[in-house]
Symmetry: C2
Subunit: 350 residues, 2 copies
Amino acid sequence: MSTIRKVASDANVSIATVSRVLNNNPGVSQDVRNRVLESVNRCGYVANVGRRATSFLAWAYTGPSSWGSAYDAAICEGLASAMDESELDLVLLNVHRDKRAGESYTQFFLRKGVRGVLLWTTKRTRDVCEQISEEGFPALVLGDKFEDSPVDYIYCDSHSTSMQGMEHLIALGHRRIALAISDIIEDSDHADRLTAYETSLREASIELDRKLYFHVPASRPDGAQIIRSMMSMAEPPTAVFVTDPSVAVGALNECHKLGISVPDDLSVLGFDDTDVRYRVYPNMTAVCQDARRLGYEAFKLLSPNIGEDNHSKTIQETYGTWLEINGTTGQPSSKRARFLPDVTRMAVEN
Amino acid sequence: MSTIRKVASDANVSIATVSRVLNNNPGVSQDVRNRVLESVNRCGYVANVGRRATSFLAWAYTGPSSWGSAYDAAICEGLASAMDESELDLVLLNVHRDKRAGESYTQFFLRKGVRGVLLWTTKRTRDVCEQISEEGFPALVLGDKFEDSPVDYIYCDSHSTSMQGMEHLIALGHRRIALAISDIIEDSDHADRLTAYETSLREASIELDRKLYFHVPASRPDGAQIIRSMMSMAEPPTAVFVTDPSVAVGALNECHKLGISVPDDLSVLGFDDTDVRYRVYPNMTAVCQDARRLGYEAFKLLSPNIGEDNHSKTIQETYGTWLEINGTTGQPSSKRARFLPDVTRMAVEN
DNA sequence: CTGAAAGCGCTTACAG
DNA sequence: CTGAAAGCGCTTACAG
């Protein structure tokens, strides 16, 4: 158990100074402040009440908090079952709600009694993760990757499976394939799927068509909307790759509503983190990842990094995804065949 | 801010004794122990690190923990948004994982730095809620009711709306209505729905048939199973009231799979806490409650009970549910009409 | 079984 | 801006 006394000797200052730094009191030089904070993380310091030390793991959004999706629920389930096997408790933290001005992330987390943090991120808050990691505070990013910095993360790589999914559609005879992408969140996940979409089309010598890109938020009504949009096009697609589970469900049900037969009139390749593919009819062909496992593993990987001198090597794990072919994909119907682009012309252009 | 000094004077003991009680040290008489714990709750005591007091609200299962359902996710979303407007943080707690032998709930929660607790319960763990409430620790039960004890709770009453739902089915002409009930969990919720089922049938002079009761766990595959069971009966029902969202989704999709037309061959009246009714096709007729709001209100109601001398009056709030008629209920088809029971005979028996 | 007192972790006026 | 020292909350041998 590290006390401020140990931190003080490690940083070569008095215990009074350590205390000031921890409480973000004004009147500590920037130099000393940084030195102390480094020692704090090196020693695995945490505030002690008598003999007791709090041992919370935090679960935090770096941007605006938005728990409530099926993905979050599955993560939560995984975290909770890992928690049952550990000595740590889990706290939901809003990183920005009460982090004080000028306070470092380490100071903030320690003030909360938090010894490690699992982070959700978006493209816009990647710097927050990098900052936390740089401070040396035990942290692990869930569901995004950091290849050029030593940020710890675990990630599901959906690129190669997305390729497989696209190749499945192409093999079925589809040439006009739309993409519904929720890259408003802008994480690596969605970037992977976008790249897979484009690469697979290029490899099959199918021309990309800007009109077939649908950038939408990640809600169910957005799925209904894209179906209405794409089906009112002069040349509707015969298949669509929907990169978000909720959007995929919304899209599928809108097809039923409009009398668009799936997969005869439109094949739907979806995405699933949990079991939404089984909650629709027909069961959805989807690129699948196991969010429950992601949560479980994240907790297990971060736990040992808590405490003294344990944070040595960088954790950068990538899990696989898999393609599950169910009832929403099939050959394009002959009725739609007239929309096939002129392959001869395209091959030349490629 | 209460310290052990204040608790000590309130209980007329030394601070050493208060400390022993809080740490559940052996060698404190039962009498003194109880007196101190009462003072602890009366003073709203919480362990202090220097000037800082932890302020966590716990979210806890009284039985085995099982976060991960759509219901939990919606509750979590509600809790998180209430948390954003408060000064408290939320911690997931496994009540039984590390509660020590002989330790009271108050001792356990304080050791964790928790100042109030939101409880999930089942019939078998109602005594845990009563115990916590008796100790005087700020607690609120979510989704169950306690009419004969002063336990704080908030609850969604689904009885009258379940009646409405059943009356809707009866008005459509259904006489042979099955019940799929997940009362293995045994909370008031499911008891309400069972009563509503039976009362509405009795009021319509329809004889209860034990063969039409399906007691199942609350998972999606159970829904598929009950459809296979009921459709292989000599006299299948023309409608079913499914009292759990996941089971309802499973049932609906199994109908599609088996070619049972909904609502022509079978009407499905479901239940929904979130938006699963919109995630299936046709959108499901359902008794609805708003789990997100439940979570939000629970947090808001418990928060002011934290601290000194604030826990005065009992919170026992009941929220309403509503019936939403969508596409899964309709008149029984003439083909099935032959299964109508002999109404003349039944009226006599009644 | 209980209290007075020593002691630890932390914070904060006070001194320089 | 930093440290020595007083002081608070809590715990724990020690005494009875």
